[in-house]
Symmetry: C2
Subunit: 365 residues, 2 copies
């Protein structure tokens, strides 16, 4: 790839083949477990990459803002906004609800009552449940709160109860497959207890779960009807550390020009900083890293270069630590390829992709 | 302000009056010390805000990328790119050099030789010196390296030596005015030694220094010819922690809708996450914070609300910790105002401002 891409600035490279493999693997898993597959599109944020999912029978998606729902409504007519409904955007809600099947997420009485009074078109409602992450959602033991929402929904002709939606975001604190599975199993237990309480009343209830770690490594989806992982489309170094993927699965890398070299510190300075990578970081063997440098290959990239990583980021600068014996192999005016720590954030900052074949792909701006 | 602004999503609010005060204060200080004032525009990244500086006699600026230089060249004809020259962007360099006074920053032989062979229009060259930060620049004791660059510059009719440029970025590790002053004084000593060695050979040599902390608190600029602080235009909570400014000086705040409340944890969930604030954070009394919530006032915002801060950020979610006794005063569907930890990064993500009077201001996209 490297002869043709004409890299002059920080550029987000996508390996389409790896990305398609990630999509295929997750779509097959959903099929195998008879789960509806509603991928979360907040990671790639691109209409064009979204189309790649259609080859695998995907016809419904999740997003995390109404802005994204609006963008994707050009191609998708069944969208879940997996974020507590922002009632200040009621105009967008009504406009979207007039065009597509819009599934909203609600977790409090204020929002459900507001919707009841301001909806002009029909929406489906997921009640958000906190399965242990502690970010959003109703505590599943607060049955009165859940029943209050259900009552409002039932009495409003413009709302239909779709089911319970949860996010096991606490799997992100794991660093092994075992930890992910344990966390996921605890979530399954919580959500199934709730499902069983409501199944006779709502036989078509949909249980929507599915963070990338759990969906990547678990083979137990008992009681789950729908999964909605997002990050798996690209993965990243953070997901690798959690235990979700191999390094080879990571489908995006940043190409960053080398602008300076400092032999005494065995460090390179790259054009590529916090406004390109994001400041997301992780700790590996007591060292803070912001990205891992990979070997360049003819068709993209290969293995991670040992002990070669982004050590620090300021606005436009990145500092790369390289083993002293490799230092002379780097040239100012060349570029390095770096696997990002958190691909969702990097994509959001970069806005555009370049495939390893040289094709430009845009995202929502 | 709050009745008219019609906040429905995360919005970056700018208090123009505070911003103008920050500009005026720094411009007056530069004048008082007979320093050229070349503000760094990487913080605000806006042509329109750039114009506010012209009222204070500013006619030259610094930026941190050629992309920014290109954007600002519509209004400014003397621009320093305070970043090691990225030779891969030679086309942009030549295009800009044909239109404006372009000052490039060089710190290695590879780049200077490349420029010598590829420049088509005249540029000025700052040699970048590392005064102790350890990010970029030549070690000032490496006289041979400096002299090599000078020799190339002297023998190239398209390059003119402008002076030495440094950034005391290690002031960002301070947490008191004394620490900033100490760090700044050490930088002054280093750069003045160097200046004195070259002054007879280059009587018009320009010494360009000036991080926001040093420029904000120091009154000693001996030997310095030009300052180029950037962040001071808005300041932020990080600069406040370093000791550069008062909380009242901070000129930008994020308005974020409240979408959920969790009384048992005394936490609010806001629409406003890492893609709005950036993941920059700081530690205060052993607590990690991503922003401080301020009181809303008729004309903007007032004091920081005690123990009310952004505790965590994911892509679109922010979690705000509030004192239990204040919890009931927050309403879903209302919004909070948050001072960002790092205004440069927040502006880069948000791209647009809304003044407290309701005027839209755009940035480079």
């Amino acid at each position: 790839m490297h002869k043709n891409l004409n890299i002059t600035k920080p550029t987000l490279i996508i390996d389409k083949e790896k990305c398609m493999m990630n999509i295929q693997r997750m779509a097959s898993k959903a099929k195998r477990h008879q789960l509806q597959f509603r991928p979360h599109f907040k990671t790639h944020q691109s209409l064009e990459i979204g189309l790649w999912f259609k080859n695998y029978g995907v016809n419904k998606i999740a997003v995390s803002s109404l802005t994204m729902a609006d963008y994707f409504s050009k191609e998708w007519n069944d969208i879940t906004v997996a974020f507590p409904t922002n009632i200040l955007e009621i105009k967008t809600i009504n406009s979207l609800a007039s065009k597509i099947t819009l599934n909203l997420t609600v977790e409090n009485s204020k929002s459900i009552l507001y919707l009841k009074n301001h909806l002009t078109h029909k929406v489906n409602i997921f009640i958000q449940i906190d399965v242990g992450y502690g970010r959003t959602g109703i505590d599943p033991s607060h049955i009165d709160d859940i029943n209050f929402l259900l009552e409002v929904i039932e009495n409003c002709p413009l709302m239909e109860f779709e089911g319970f939606l949860s996010h096991s975001g606490h799997t992100y604190k794991c660093d092994s497959v075992e930890c992910i599975k344990d966390t996921h199993n605890r979530s399954l237990k919580v959500i199934n207890q709730l499902k069983n309480n409501y199944l006779s009343r709502y036989p078509n209830i949909v249980i929507s779960l599915g963070d990338t770690p759990s969906c990547s490594v678990s083979e137990d989806f008992s009681g789950i009807d729908e999964i909605r992982p997002g990050n798996f489309v690209f993965y990243d170094v953070m997901q690798y550390q959690i235990g979700s993927n191999t390094i080879e699965d990571i489908a995006v890398a940043m190409a960053c020009p080398i602008v300076a070299k400092h032999k005494n510190r065995s460090e390179l300075v790259i054009y590529g900083g916090g406004i390109h990578f994001s400041k997301d970081r992780l700790i590996e063997n007591d060292i803070t890293i912001y990205g891992k440098v990979v070997e360049k290959t003819k068709n993209g990239w290969g293995k991670v270069l040992a002990n070669t990583y982004v050590k620090n980021l300021s606005q436009e600068h990145g500092i790369i630590k390289v083993p002293f014996q490799d230092f002379d192999s780097y040239t100012i005016g060349d570029y390095v390829l770096v696997l990002p720590v958190h691909s969702c954030m990097t994509v959001d900052l970069m806005k555009n992709y370049l495939t390893t074949e040289g094709q430009q792909i845009s995202t929502l701006i």
